[in-house]
């Protein structure tokens, strides 16, 4: 015993002193989130009648897919229903990050070797991380209970709600601790843990949409806070499942850890190739190697998400059409079914400009970190930029077009309206020039202000979105709004000049050209 756990307490103290901001957010956010939701619900539904009348109308298929059935029509029932998934995800993510940081990442960086060599037992780091993680989740849960009872919600129900997310977060953290015994790199462990969390979330949505009882649901941490039935005849016995599961997983991770060497994993590290593939010989091949991860992730995510959006669009249309506040907007967009999708596609287009900035960021990182190596080869500087422009411009277009195609396909499947495919595809295709203009801005910054590129580019994106909002509220003149590439494609304007795509393309080309010229003339690799 002593051999294994010696030094656990001092390690716990050490971990507590680290990452204080991270811990503070982890502790406070759950309670804060519940409090905000409670207050806004109290304001929104001053009386029980208002709640029954309005609350029930707020429940649409999408919300139901996310949160499952509403168990009790009351402010308390409404708040627990709305907050539980978020709380579990939040606690789970923080717990996973924490566990991997103190187990696998510490080991990878060689910290554990130092600690393990002298003062601590072999299992102490894992044990300390597990205990600290559980304690932090417990304090977060207690704070949330305080917040709920202080705002007048019942104690027993609050207890059930908070125990639900406490149990789920802890089990997810313990799971990450076990996973991190398997892999040699922290990246792999983190990827696996978040992959599992994503799969559990997918199952959660699937079960909610399909409805009905499912025995397997008792094993999914995301379901526990529903199964414990806060404010609806609490059913605390369910919490035995996380208790048993958590204990079993914790013991398993200890066993795994005791059986392996420091720094090693149970899944052996694969050997890489000793020779490069014959085709791996130029900057385009290199750019593919550095950009493919980001590109494929966005491409696949947007394909699937767009398809789902298209399929579900008719459901959401019915939900939105009942909201009176949106009537005027819908009128402007030419009818409810079109309006909704147009708006969604527009938001998609805006989100994809984040990809533009990220892929341009990869170019900048390649320049700072590997520029000395690459640019001391017989290559022109513009070749380096061009090899990445394939992704900044071409990759973005591919993602947008694929997304348009998938939304259209989903809409055809969902509504049977065959004309939707072409219409939605073209609508998405119209976003491409605006995304390109953003890419042009990124390249200009790359050439002109490389050190501030990241900050300014995300700042500009935010500004463009803000300009949209201010323009909608008629607080900024149209001429100013025109500086945002989005203003040339927004569906909120009744008509756009036919030359809009051309203007955007020319702007993109000029900006990118200027960026390349400036890059050729400045100090590189700094």
């Amino acid at each position: 015993m002593r051999r294994y756990f010696h030094g656990t307490l001092s390690l716990m103290r050490l971990y507590m002193r680290q990452n204080r901001i991270f811990t503070l957010i982890w502790l406070l956010l759950p309670g804060l989130w519940v409090a905000i939701n409670t207050v806004s619900s109290l304001v929104l539904f001053p009386t029980q009648e208002a709640l029954v009348e309005m609350g029930v109308s707020l429940i649409d298929p999408l919300t139901e897919a996310m949160h499952g059935p509403l168990l009790d029509v009351s402010v308390a029932g409404f708040v627990t229903w709305r907050t539980k998934v978020f709380l579990v995800m939040l606690g789970g993510i923080f717990s996973i990050v924490y566990m991997i940081r103190h187990t696998r990442l510490a080991e990878e960086q060689g910290k554990r070797e130092l600690l393990g060599a002298n003062v601590t037992g072999g299992l102490a780091p894992l044990a300390a991380a597990l205990v600290n993680m559980t304690l932090t989740n417990a304090v977060a849960a207690v704070l949330a209970i305080f917040a709920m009872t202080a705002l007048g919600l019942g104690l027993v129900g609050s207890l059930a709600h908070c125990l639900g997310f406490f149990a789920a977060a802890c089990v997810l953290g313990i799971l990450a601790g076990a996973v991190s015994q398997l892999f040699v790199s922290a990246t792999a462990a983190r990827g696996m843990s978040f992959g599992l969390l994503g799969a559990l979330f997918g199952l959660h949505i699937l079960w909610n949409v399909s409805g009905g009882q499912n025995l397997l649901a008792y094993l999914n941490p995301l379901e526990w806070s529903l199964l414990v039935r806060p404010f609806a005849g609490e059913y605390f016995i369910v919490l035995l499942i996380p208790l048993v599961l958590g204990t079993a997983l914790a013991l398993l991770s200890m066993r795994l850890m005791a059986r392996r060497d420091v720094g090693a994993g149970l899944v052996p590290q694969r050997k890489g190739r000793a020779f490069a593939k014959p085709g791996f010989r130029n900057l385009s091949a290199l750019a593919w190697r550095t950009q493919k991860g980001l590109f494929l992730a966005w491409f696949c995510f947007y394909s699937i998400f767009s398809f789902a959006l298209g399929c579900a669009s008719y459901l959401m249309v019915s939900a939105v059409s009942s909201a009176e506040a949106l009537a005027g907007l819908i009128e402007r967009l030419g009818g409810i079914d079109r309006a909704f999708l147009s708006l969604m596609l527009y938001v998609f287009g805006m989100l994809i400009s984040v990809y533009v900035m990220m892929s341009a960021g990869i170019l900048r990182r390649e320049e700072t970190a590997k520029g000395e190596t690459v640019l001391s080869m017989p290559v022109r500087r513009e070749q380096l930029v061009l090899s990445h422009m394939v992704y900044i411009f071409g990759g973005t277009a591919a993602i947008l077009l694929m997304s348009g195609f998938c939304v259209g396909l989903g809409a055809v499947v969902g509504t049977g309206d065959k004309s939707a495919l072409a219409r939605l595809f073209v609508e998405m295709a119209r976003m491409v020039p605006a995304a390109w203009a953003i890419g042009g801005v990124a390249l200009l910054l790359f050439g002109a202000l490389p050190r501030w590129m990241t900050g300014i580019s995300y700042g500009l994106l935010t500004l463009f979105v803000l300009m949209e909002i201010f323009w909608e509220q008629q607080q900024i003149p149209v001429a100013l709004y025109a500086l945002s590439p989005f203003s040339w494609i927004t569906p909120l304007k009744a008509v756009q000049p036919t030359a809009a795509p051309l203007v955007l393309c020319i702007a993109a080309a000029l900006l990118a050209g200027a960026g390349i010229l400036l890059f050729r003339r400045r100090d590189a690799a700094i």
């Binding site: 490069a276 791996f280 550095t290 190596t373 017989p378 400045r522």
Partner: protein, 244 residues
């Protein structure tokens, strides 16, 4: 004709003056030791020679060309090892060596195998698992397998163990034997003493001494104790006094 000829080279970074009128000349086929304390301007000089940095004033000739204007042509004829070697996390050392060799356009399979063996590198490991020393080995192997006229090495052995240091010195001498010019920036005096024919000393962006190793050897013998360290200490002190 010298392989490298620099006259009055000046380079500013904002208000910092990194190079303040550097003059140096590297004879073809020699090993030139470029010595100076940290922050003296060694890396800045080399980056200017590579056309990565744009000079503010002065004349720079490299293999008969202008490093800023003719960079692509010149880079075909030289190999560079940076002082902080950073590589692609998800590529193996072997892949990097192959890739850089193909990009440079000159490398042979036999030499590749030979240098991997000599530097005792496992080419199947991903770069993110390499230590600083191993990353340096990858860059060094890539430079030594290439068929070029000039090697620019910026403190290339700071992460290597003493055994590898010996291998490195051997490789540098062989490169000279094959008619290559080596420009070796370093702050390890024993290394410089062991391999260099010519020496240049830089401090705070200015050259404070340039000459052949023979010349320096006679000066060393006048020092107490008779070491290169003592000589340089002397130079640094004199230079500082002049500055004051």
């Amino acid at each position: 004709m010298p392989a490298i000829e620099i006259r009055g080279l000046t380079k500013h970074f904002g208000k910092t003056i990194a190079l303040d009128g550097v003059d140096l000349s590297v004879p073809e086929g020699s090993i030139y030791g470029f010595i100076g304390p940290n922050g003296a301007g060694k890396s800045t000089t080399i980056r200017t020679l590579l056309g990565l940095l744009k000079k503010n004033a002065g004349e720079v000739r490299l293999l008969g060309g202008d490093p800023w204007r003719d960079n692509v042509e010149l880079h075909r004829r030289l190999a560079y090892v940076p002082s902080e070697v950073q590589l692609w996390d998800n590529m193996t050392g072997g892949e990097v060596i192959d890739f850089l060799g193909r990009l440079r356009g000159s490398y042979s399979k036999e030499r590749r195998a030979q240098f991997i063996e000599r530097f005792d590198l496992d080419p199947t490991k991903k770069c993110k698992t390499y230590s600083k020393g191993n990353r340096q080995k990858v860059a060094l192997i890539s430079a030594f397998v290439s068929d070029v006229e000039l090697l620019l090495l910026d403190e290339p052995t700071t992460g290597l163990d003493p055994l590898m240091e010996g291998v490195f010195q051997q490789c540098v001498k062989e490169a000279r034997g094959a008619g290559k010019t080596v420009f070796l920036s370093s702050h390890i005096l024993s290394q410089v003493e062991a391999v260099c024919d010519e020496i240049g000393v830089i401090r705070a962006g200015k050259m404070i001494k340039e000459g052949s190793m023979e010349e320096l050897k006679t000066l060393i013998h006048q020092q107490k104790p008779p070491t290169l360290e003592a000589l340089f200490l002397n130079y640094y002190i004199k230079d500082a006094e002049r500055g004051a």
